[in-house]
C-alpha cells in the first residue's frame, strides 16, 4: 500500500492577513481583563490552598517533652523506594530505642508517602508544604532536629470522616 499524500493548497501570499486572528486574540485578552472571576494568583503574597492529601516536606512528630516520637524501628528506610532515609538507631538514657541519626534527603525523596503509611508510631509524616528552596544542595538533607521543627500540617493519607473511602 503506497503512502497517500494530500496536497494542501495554501493561499497565495498577499491574499491573507494576520489581522483577524490578532484581533480575535486581543478580544479574548480584553474579556479576561474585565472578567470579575479572575484566575491569576498573586503568589507568593497569596498562598495556594493545598489539598489535605498533598504530600510535601516531611514532619517528625514529637512527644510533649520534645523527644521525637520515632522509635528507630527501621521500617521507613526499608520501605522507602527512593532510599532517601538514613537511620541509625540506639539506646537512650532510659533504655528506650531512639534515632541517633535520622536524615531525609528531600531531593532524592519522591514523596510517595509510604514512610508515613508504614510508621508504627505515627512519627514521620509527609506534610502539606512545598516551598523548600535552598541555596545549597546539602541543605536538602533534613536532619532530625530540622524535621521536628517543621510546623506545617502533616498530610492526611485518608479522609478522617471517611477512613475507608466508602
Amino acid at each position: 500500500m503506497g503512502v497517500q499524500v494530500k496536497v494542501i493548497q495554501r493561499p497565495e501570499p498577499g491574499r491573507t492577513s494576520y489581522l483577524r486572528a490578532a484581533l480575535k486574540g486581543m478580544a479574548l485578552t480584553f474579556r479576561h481583563m474585565v472578567n470579575p472571576t479572575k484566575v491569576t494568583q498573586q503568589y507568593p503574597e497569596e498562598q495556594t490552598d493545598l489539598s489535605p492529601r498533598w504530600r510535601g516536606t516531611h514532619v517528625m512528630e514529637t512527644h510533649a517533652d520534645g523527644r521525637p516520637k520515632c522509635v528507630a524501628c527501621g521500617l521507613c528506610p526499608t520501605v522507602c523506594p527512593a532510599n532517601c532515609i538514613r537511620l541509625v538507631g540506639g539506646e537512650d538514657d532510659n533504655g528506650n530505642r531512639y534515632p541517633i541519626v535520622y536524615e531525609i534527603d528531600e531531593f532524592r525523596c519522591i514523596f510517595c508517602g509510604m514512610c508515613q503509611e508504614v510508621c508504627p508510631v505515627e512519627a514521620i509524616h509527609v506534610g502539606q508544604h512545598f516551598e523548600n528552596a535552598e541555596y545549597s544542595r546539602d541543605r536538602f538533607v533534613y536532619d532530625l532536629d530540622r524535621l521536628m521543627e517543621q510546623d506545617h500540617p502533616s498530610t492526611l493519607l485518608w479522609d478522617p470522616s471517611d477512613p475507608r473511602s466508602e
Binding site: 522509635v71 528507630a72 524501628c73 527501621g74 521500617l75 526499608t78 538507631g89 540506639g90 539506646e91 533504655g95 528506650n96 530505642r97 508504627p120 508510631v121
Partner: protein
C-alpha cells in the same frame, strides 16, 4: 512396625530405615528420626519453639502438633518417632486449627513491640503467626508486664516477650552444663530467671542462648538496637579467634561487620560458638588501613607519597629481589607471617621464599593458658592457640617463634641483612629500626605499622573478611571462608600479590587469579594437602592427610 533394610555393601554401619508418608509424599528416613526432622527433609517446616536440634525435646510448646493417622489426637512431631507406614498430615485442617489456637494463646501476653524488638525480622513468633496465625487478636485482657532484666554477660532479658520454650534453660543445663537459668513461678506468671546476682557473668558460652531464643526475649547487649535483622548480609565464614575453626556467619552492613553468629557444622562446632570469638569482630572494621602500594625505602614514613600502582610496585619488587638473588647478596630469606593468613596466602609466601633461594618462614601466635571446653559438646572448645591458621602454617612449613603473647622471637629477622618479608604480622613489639639492615624489606599488611618504616615496599593486603580462602583448624580440617566486606582502595589478597611475584621470579607465565586456583595449585604441590580440591571442601570442610603437631604441644 519398622522394617530393617541393612545396607548390603561397604563398611557403613547398617542403617535401619523407615518409610512414611508426610503430606502425601513418601519419605524414607533412618529409624529413630522424629516426624519433625522427617518433614524437614522434604522441605516442610513444622512450627516449633521448644525443639532445638542441639538440645533435648520436652514437647512443651505444643506448636509442632501434626495429625498422625490412627492416633486419637494430634501428636507433637518433635518427639514422635517416624514409623513405617505412618501417614502424617502437617497441614491438615485439625492441625492448622490447633496451631492457630496455640499461637493465639502465645499472643495473649506477648507484647506487639516488634518495631523496637531486636529479634524482629528473624523472630519465629512473627513468622509463624504470619504463616498460620489469626490476622487479628481477640484478647481484650491487659497483658502481664515483667520489664527487662540484665542477665549478666552479654545477655539482656525481656520477660514480656518470652514464650517459655526453655531452650535457654536447657542450653545452660545440658550443653554448657552450668545451670544458671531456671523457670520461676508457675502458669501465667512463669518467667526465666537467674539463680543469684551474678547471672550469666563469667560464663563462656552463654551468648548462644541469644541465638537459640526463638523470640526477642534474650537479646545481645552488644547488638542492642544496632541494626535491623533484615538489613544484614550473611556471609559464611570461619571464626578467626582460635584454632577450633568454628563455622560462623559474618553479619555485615555498610561494609562493617555488625555481629558474628555460629553456623551449623556438626563436625566442628555443632550449633554453637564461644563468647570470646563472638565478640571479637571489631578488628575487622578497623579504619586505619593501608590502601595503596608504595615502593622505595622509607615510603611508610611519608604516607602521602604518590603510589605508582600495582604494576610498577611489583615490577620494582621483582627486579630488586632478582638482582639480589642473582648477585648472591640475598642470603637466606627471612619471612614473618601472621597465623591468621589463609592457606593460599601462606602457600604463596612459601613459594616466593623458595623462588628466592629458600629461607625461614616464622609466625608468632598468642596462646591462652587453658582450653575452655563446652562440656555438652566436648569436641568444641576455645582452643589454646588464639589464631585461625596456626595448624595450616605448620603444615606448610612455617615455624612458631616468640612467646605466648605473640611477641618477641624476631631478633634474627630484625637485623637480617638479606631479604625480609613480613606478611600480616603487625610487629607491634618491634620498633622502627626493624629491617633497617635488610637488603630488601617487603611489608605486606592491612594496617600501618611503625615497624614498616624501613620497608622498601609497603603492599596493602585485604583482611580475612575481605577475601576468600581456607583455614586449617586444629583437627586438620581445611575449611573455606568467603568474602564479606569490600576491601579499601587498592588492597589485594596476599595470595594474589605473592602469587604474581612468585610466578614472575620463577618464570611461569600464569599466576593464580582466584582463591580457587591458588588453593588447587597449592594442594597440587604440597604433600599435606594432597588430594584436596577447592570444590571438594564443600560446606563442612575436608581433613588433611597428615597430622603435624603444633609447636609446644
Amino acid at each position: 512396625m519398622s522394617q530393617s533394610t541393612p545396607q548390603a555393601n561397604g563398611n557403613d554401619a547398617a542403617v535401619e530405615t523407615v518409610t512414611l508418608t508426610i503430606d502425601g509424599r513418601e519419605v524414607t528416613v533412618p529409624k529413630g528420626t522424629t516426624v519433625l526432622k522427617a518433614a524437614e527433609s522434604v522441605g516442610t517446616e513444622v512450627p516449633h519453639y521448644c525443639f532445638h536440634e542441639g538440645l533435648s525435646s520436652p514437647a512443651m510448646c505444643r506448636l509442632c502438633l501434626v495429625e498422625v493417622e490412627g492416633a486419637p489426637k494430634l501428636q507433637p512431631s518433635c518427639v514422635t518417632q517416624a514409623q513405617d507406614g505412618q501417614v502424617v498430615r502437617t497441614q491438615g485442617d485439625q492441625a492448622l486449627r490447633q496451631r492457630r489456637g496455640v499461637l493465639e494463646f502465645y499472643l495473649v501476653n506477648h507484647p506487639l513491640d516488634c518495631p523496637i524488638c531486636d529479634q524482629s525480622g528473624e523472630c519465629h513468633l512473627q513468622d509463624y503467626v504470619h504463616e498460620e496465625g489469626r490476622d487479628h487478636g481477640r484478647s481484650r485482657e491487659p497483658k502481664r508486664v515483667f520489664g527487662r532484666d540484665d542477665f549478666g554477660g552479654d545477655v539482656l532479658f525481656y520477660g514480656d516477650r518470652c514464650v517459655m520454650c526453655t531452650r535457654c534453660v536447657r542450653f545452660m543445663n545440658e550443653v554448657e552444663q552450668d545451670p544458671r537459668l531456671t523457670v520461676v513461678e508457675r502458669g501465667n506468671r512463669s518467667v526465666i530467671d537467674t539463680f543469684f546476682e551474678e547471672g550469666l557473668d563469667g560464663t563462656h558460652w552463654s551468648g548462644n542462648v541469644v541465638d537459640i531464643c526463638p523470640v526477642g526475649a534474650l537479646v545481645s547487649k552488644d547488638f542492642l538496637y544496632k541494626q535491623r535483622a533484615w538489613d544484614l548480609d550473611h556471609t559464611p565464614s570461619i571464626c578467626p579467634s582460635c584454632s577450633q575453626g568454628c563455622n560462623i556467619s559474618l553479619h555485615t552492613r555498610d561494609n562493617l561487620v555488625q555481629r558474628l553468629k555460629p553456623r551449623k557444622n556438626l563436625d566442628v562446632n555443632g550449633h554453637w560458638m564461644c563468647d570470646h570469638g563472638r565478640h571479637r569482630y571489631e578488628f575487622m572494621n578497623r579504619p586505619d588501613r593501608l590502601t595503596e602500594p608504595l615502593t622505595g625505602r622509607g615510603t611508610a614514613r611519608t604516607p602521602s607519597s604518590a603510589s605508582r600502582g600495582w604494576r610498577a610496585a611489583l615490577t620494582d619488587v621483582v627486579d630488586r629481589a632478582r638482582s639480589l638473588a642473582e648477585g648472591g647478596r640475598g642470603g637466606r630469606v627471612m619471612a614473618v607471617m601472621s597465623p591468621n593468613a589463609s592457606n593460599e596466602d601462606i602457600g604463596a609466601l612459601v613459594e616466593v621464599v623458595d623462588a628466592l633461594g629458600g629461607g625461614d618462614v616464622v609466625y608468632r601466635m598468642a596462646r591462652a593458658d587453658d582450653e575452655i571446653v563446652l562440656k555438652g559438646y566436648p569436641s568444641l572448645a576455645r582452643r589454646r592457640d588464639l589464631a585461625a591458621n596456626g595448624h595450616g602454617a605448620e603444615l606448610l612449613g612455617a615455624t612458631r617463634v616468640g612467646d605466648d603473647d605473640a611477641t618477641g622471637g624476631l631478633e634474627a629477622v630484625a637485623d637480617h641483612d638479606g631479604i625480609v618479608i613480613v606478611l600480616g604480622d603487625e610487629l607491634d613489639d618491634q620498633g622502627e629500626d626493624f629491617g633497617r639492615a635488610a637488603a630488601l624489606y617487603l611489608y605486606l599488611g592491612a594496617h600501618p605499622s611503625e615497624a614498616a618504616t624501613h620497608a622498601d615496599a609497603v603492599l596493602p593486603t585485604t583482611t580475612f573478611a575481605e577475601q576468600e580462602g581456607t583455614f586449617t583448624n586444629i583437627q586438620g580440617r581445611v575449611q573455606r571462608f568467603r568474602q564479606g566486606l569490600r576491601a579499601p582502595g587498592s588492597a589485594r589478597p596476599a595470595w594474589l600479590i605473592l602469587g604474581a611475584v612468585a610466578a614472575e621470579l620463577s618464570g611461569r607465565e600464569t599466576a593464580p587469579t582466584s582463591a580457587e586456583e591458588a588453593f588447587d595449585a597449592l594442594a597440587g604441590r604440597t604433600n599435606a594437602l594432597a588430594g584436596l580440591t577447592w570444590d571438594g571442601l564443600g560446606s563442612r570442610g575436608a581433613l588433611v592427610n597428615e597430622t603435624v603437631p603444633l609447636a609446644g604441644d
